[in-house]
């Protein structure tokens, strides 16, 4: 029973508040990914669940039991640190055995658990090496192995892949996904700042921002229906474009006259009282299309990045400001310095008033 209940948990360091009032319920067997800008308190939240950081207020329940004052080892959790935190003076085997020996597990069982974990993680040939004689990826796997052998109900990961190079990161990400699949009833909480890790691994993503949760949902929910401009720009890469304008027609479909000149249609419904309201429309780079005739805006393409399967265009924003980014499928070397008109499917046009999405109200 490894459901986790986080009830109005608060945390401050001295007088400095980091999290005020986080509420979150995690079901048995979920893979929760915590994302958010650096310094927003992801590690702090994870460490409070682990029992490494005192909870300033609120309750933490694991499997229905209040855990605020339970020592880490008795919470049924295991943690993989960003730095791996391998004991440098112990071999791989000793590192993995350590927790089991403390728990006074019989020797035969310890050996079985360690060898099993080593096999899963392809560490068998390295069991008698010291951590310093391992590569980064191997150390990372030892850290995971140390968590696995304890067979915890909850796995906690704090940016476990951030010290690996790109190729290794992809490979290890897939291993972690497979690991989760092999243990469907174990709950995993995973902190990262990597978009792709979040989108591919999570059953639900929790976006943390400015001292609290901004939004919780499946990766696609967050992508398609972000609750505010912050989440909209945080999920997806490159970030969603925002264009300022004013509502000129309401109803099942909303029409916005953009400050840069064009008009935008959005499938987000509005009420008559919204007439004349200042809003930002949001369009993801991949949802922008080159059109002939009327569109959202026209602008000169200033930079072309050909990535192969897509081309990213950096377009001058009408009226000045940061580039608007468009992502077109295929290769378009000829667009440089051309003025192009862009449009978008009304279903893909988000509406934000005062930063909040008009979808939710």
């Amino acid at each position: 029973m490894a459901s986790i209940d986080i009830q109005s948990i608060r945390k401050s360091f001295g007088a400095f508040p980091v999290l005020h009032g986080v509420d979150l319920t995690i079901q048995d067997g979920e893979f929760i990914v915590l994302v958010g800008p650096s310094g927003c308190g992801k590690s702090t939240l994870l460490r409070m669940i682990a029992g490494l950081e005192r909870i300033s207020g609120g309750d933490l329940l694991i499997g229905g039991q209040r855990m605020n004052d339970v020592p880490p080892a008795q919470r049924g959790i295991a943690m993989v640190f960003q730095s791996y935190a391998l004991y440098p003076h112990m071999t791989v085997r000793q590192n993995m055995e350590f927790a089991l020996q403390i728990a006074r597990m019989p020797k035969a069982e310890i050996d079985k658990a360690v060898e099993n974990a080593a096999r899963i993680l392809q560490l068998t040939p390295y069991l008698d090496r010291l951590p310093k004689a391992l590569s980064g990826g191997q150390r990372q796997r030892v850290a995971i192995g140390r968590a696995i052998v304890r067979d915890p109900k909850v796995f906690l990961f704090d940016e476990p892949l951030s010290n690996l190079d790109a190729a290794l990161r992809v490979a290890t990400r897939i291993e972690i996904a497979q690991l989760k699949e092999a243990m469907p009833d174990r709950t995993m909480i995973y902190v990262t700042h990597d978009q792709v890790e979040a989108m591919t691994l999570a059953s639900r993503i929790v976006v943390l921002a400015r001292k609290g949760i901004a939004q919780v949902g499946t990766p696609l929910e967050l992508y398609e229906r972000p609750v505010d401009e912050f989440v909209a720009q945080f999920i997806g890469s490159p970030a969603m474009n925002l264009l300022a304008g004013e509502i000129i027609a309401t109803g099942a479909e909303t029409v916005v006259r953009l400050d840069g000149g064009g008009t935008a249609r959005s499938a987000v419904p509005t009420q008559t009282s919204d007439m004349g309201r200042k809003v930002n429309i949001g369009v993801r780079p991949e949802d922008l299309l080159a059109v002939s005739g009327d569109g959202l805006f026209s602008g000169e393409v200033q930079i072309v990045e050909a990535l192969g399967e897509v081309t990213q265009l950096y377009v001058a924003r009408p009226g000045g400001g940061a580039h608007i980014i468009a992502k077109l499928p295929g290769i378009h070397p000829d667009l440089r310095h051309k003025t192009v008109t862009f449009g978008a499917d009304p279903a893909k046009v988000h509406l934000f008033a005062d930063g909040r999405s008009l979808l939710y109200r």
Binding site: A50, G51, L52, P71, P72, A73, Q74, I77, A78, M79, F81, S83, A85, Y87, P88, H89, F98, A99, I102, A103, R146, R150
Partner: protein, 276 residues
């Protein structure tokens, strides 16, 4: 980078010069101590006497208070080293692992103690210790030396603890280790070099201390080596062979200790220096 052979040779020669400069005085000490008396003056500046003898050593060990001095110094330096290392480990751990209000005051206090002339403390300490019966006693010396050495040793230990990531302790906590188990199985093995360096450093310092030993101790019975050797020098000032034999013997424990721990000492200072 290619290194030119001339430069390499110059580099090695310079190193050699330093080694010779560092070792020559010690070599000379050894040389005179094994020179028989009848050759001492006739072969005064020869690099090695034509005949060697250990008579001086035999005399010093058998017919002087030397063994007492040696024993006293061993007791004082050993107890000081152990006490300081324990106290400095505790304080260094606190400075390294906790953020507490008084931390900066403690650091400031310890830095200040490194600044003022210890000679200034001779008189007050003498006046304080004498009613307690701690003058003329090895215990008094150990207390004084411990206090003198704790500040630097604390900084040294702190730099070693700083070198052990906090993550390791947290990982051990999650693995279910109690504070004690975490300390014994994780922290202690990783701090061993630091402990060795501190022990060695303090041992050498206490072994060498002269001024307070002179002030606080009178009489051979509880004299330490430096004092004993000085009295020995003034008493037997004509017998250089015996003095130098005593000197060589005084040198042995400190140098042995140093050779064992010097690697860690450099490491410890490196850790400290990296932090600035």
């Amino acid at each position: 980078m290619k290194s030119k052979p001339v430069l390499t040779i110059l580099h090695r020669l310079a190193i050699l010069a330093y080694v010779v400069f560092a070792l020559f005085p010690l070599f000379w000490l050894l040389k005179v101590s094994v020179t028989p008396n009848d050759l001492l003056y006739s072969e005064g500046v020869r690099m090695w006497p034509s005949r060697t003898s250990f008579d001086h050593y035999a005399f010093v060990i058998a017919h002087s208070a030397f063994p007492t001095f040696f024993k006293n110094s061993l007791i004082v330096a050993g107890s000081t080293a152990v006490t300081v290392t324990i106290l400095a480990s505790l304080a260094g751990y606190a400075l390294s692992r906790f953020n507490f209000k008084a931390k900066y005051w403690i650091v400031a206090l310890m830095l200040i103690t490194q600044m003022f002339p210890l000679v200034m403390l001779v008189a007050p300490i003498f006046k304080m210790l004498s009613p307690l019966g701690l003058t003329n006693s090895l215990t008094g010396l150990v207390i004084v030396y411990t206090a003198f050495n704790v500040p630097f040793a604390t900084f040294l230990m702190q730099s070693f603890f700083d070198g052990i990531p906090k993550d390791l302790e947290e990982a051990a906590m999650i693995d279910g280790a109690t504070q004690f188990v975490a300390f014994r199985q994780i922290i202690l093995p990783l701090t061993l070099p630091g402990i060795a360096a501190t022990l060695g450093f303090v041992f050498t310092a206490a072994w060498s201390e002269l001024l307070f030993a002179l002030m606080l101790i009178s009489g051979n019975d509880s004299s330490t080596f430096p004092v004993g050797l000085l009295t020995f020098v003034s008493k037997f000032s004509v017998d250089f062979g015996q003095m130098m034999a005593a000197g060589v013997l005084a040198l042995i424990p400190a140098c042995l200790f140093f050779l064992l721990i010097q690697r860690y000492l450099v490491q410890g200072l490196t850790a400290g220096a990296v932090k600035g």
